[in-house]
Every structure is written in C-alpha cells, then in structure tokens.
C-alpha cells in the first residue's frame, strides 16, 4: 500500500514535472506544476512531515501558484510566437548534461544508501525527537527558539521582496 502510494505520487510528480517542461502552453505548465506540488505534498506526508505537507499545499500550490496564474492571465503569454528558436543547439547540449547529472545524482544516492547505516548524525537541535505524527508543536518550538534569528531574517526578506515588488511594478507618474 505504502509502495503503491509512493510510486503513484512519484510517477505523478515526475510526469507533471515533465509536462511543466514540455507543455506547449504556459497555462498547462502552471497547472501541471500545481499537480506536481500536490504530489510532492503527498510525499511529504509519507515522510512524516505533515505540517510541511500542509504548508506545501497552502503556500506553494495555493498562494504562489495562484500568483503565477495571475501573472499568466495578466500577460497573456500565449499571444507570443516562440516557434523560431535562435538557440537550436541548446537541447543538444542539455540532454547529455541532464543525463549525466541525473545519472550521478542517482548513483550517489544509491551509494549513500549502502553506507546509510553508518550514522554521521551529529544531532541537530532535535535529535531523536521526530514522532510519527503531530510534530507541529515541536516544530513551532524550534522555530521560535533555536531558529528565531532565521525567522526574523525572513521578515526582512519578505519586507524587501514586498518593497521591491511595489517599486518595480508601480507606474511612473
């Protein structure tokens, strides 16, 4: 069951990802991306990260992708003709590179799993505190104690992003 779910989600996410790349209309890519994010959220859930899975759906699939769709609607990219490509040689370069990258990454992953028993763990802030369910509370505790500084930094980050978006998009008087 677990495996079926996993393979289902994995296949969905990879297929959706491929659709993102190869769809001929932007809107399809966006929709496929939402599907992909959903599938990944499922994988998160399987990996005992229920809170993250929820955030994934809400923030990513929800907020961010809506923003994307909004922009797509606004700009109407379908009207533009992308048929003449000045960089025809790019795919020829990318395919072997991508293949090599994928090969190495997967190979490394397998190599890693062989020695995975040998724990390198130096223990983060919460070594051994991961429960099967309901880790939201400890997550929150972590976030507001040990990870207080990063959390505060994100406020600056968002502030500057907002400020930036505002400056960039306002129409000059």
């Amino acid at each position: 069951m677990e495996y079926i779910l996993f393979y289902g989600l994995a296949t969905t996410s990879v297929t959706a990802a491929l659709v993102v790349v190869f769809a001929n209309r932007v809107i399809y890519s966006a929709l496929a991306l939402i599907v992909c994010f959903g599938a990944i959220a499922g994988l998160f859930f399987q990996l005992d990260a229920q809170f993250i899975a929820a955030v994934q759906v809400i923030v990513y699939a929800g907020a961010i992708m809506v923003l994307f769709l909004f922009v797509i609607m606004l700009l109407d990219p379908e009207s533009e003709d992308f048929s003449t490509d000045r960089l025809k040689q790019i795919p020829i370069l990318v395919v072997p590179l991508a293949a090599a990258l994928a090969f190495i990454l997967i190979q490394v992953t397998f190599l890693w799993s062989e020695n995975a028993s040998r724990s390198l763990s130096a223990g983060g802030h919460t070594a051994g505190s991961l429960q099967m369910t309901g880790n939201t509370e400890s997550l929150a505790r972590l976030l507001f104690r040990e990870y207080l500084l990063p959390f505060e930094i994100t406020s600056i980050l968002i502030l500057s992003a907002v400020l930036g978006a505002v400056i960039l998009t306002r129409r000059p008087e």
């Binding site: 677990e2 994995a10 990802a17 491929l18 993102v20 790349v21 932007v26 890519s29 966006a30 991306l33 992909c36 990944i40 994988l43 998160f44 990996l47 005992d48 990260a49 809170f51 993250i52 994934q56 923030v59 990513y60 907020a63 961010i64 923003l67 994307f68 922009v71 606004l74 700009l75 990219p77 533009e80 992308f82 490509d85 000045r86 960089l87 790019i90 991508a98 990258l101 994928a102 990454l105 997967i106 799993s113 995975a116 763990s121 983060g124 802030h125 919460t126 505190s129 991961l130 997550l139 972590l142 976030l143 990870y147 990063p150 994100t154 968002i158 992003a161 978006a165 960039l168 998009t169």
Partner: protein, 100 residues
C-alpha cells in the same frame, strides 16, 4: 517504510527536470516555474534526510525555503511583469541587448 533512496531518486529526477526546463524553455514564466520545481526537489531531499536522520531541522529548512520561494516569486513575477511591459515580450532570448 520506504527507503530514503527512493525519495531521493524522485527528488533528483525532479531537480534534473527543473534544471533542464530552465534551459530548454524560453518563456520566462515557464523558466521561473522550473526553478520552483528545482526548489521543490530540494525540499523533498531535505524532508527525506530529515526523516532519515530522525530530526526536525530539515523540515525547518524547508519552511524557510518556502518563504524564500514566495519572496522570490513576488520579486520575480514583478520583474517579469515589467519586462513584458517594457520589452513587450516574455521570451528570455529577446533580453540580449547586452552581450560580448
């Protein structure tokens, strides 16, 4: 329990697809979406390791990545909007005034 390797392989595939997508697509929005795909692959990796290591730090990291992704989306889309407004295109290859 499904071994971590499986998840990592899925993440790797997603990452590679994302990377390839950035390069293969000319539409700025699609490129950006592919970048989001890369970030998600990273997130999946983090979560997998987090479970493997049996600790929460990875999940925290993912939260921050998501925040960053959101912030980037705000700025990135704003930039895309003004590019389209000024250059009247979403084709990244049109943005080649400066070269050599």
């Amino acid at each position: 329990m499904i071994p971590s390797t499986h998840y990592l392989v899925v993440a790797a595939l997603l990452f590679v697809i994302g990377v390839s997508g950035v390069i293969l697509r000319r539409n700025v929005i699609t490129m950006f979406m592919c970048i989001e795909l890369m970030l998600n692959a990273v997130n999946l990796t983090f979560i997998t390791f987090s479970r493997f290591l049996n600790q929460l730090d990875g999940q925290i990291f993912v939260l921050f990545v998501m925040t960053v992704a959101a912030a980037e989306a705000a700025v990135g889309l704003a930039l895309i909007v003004i590019l389209s407004r000024r250059a009247d295109t979403l084709d990244v290859d049109q943005a080649d005034t400066m070269k050599w």
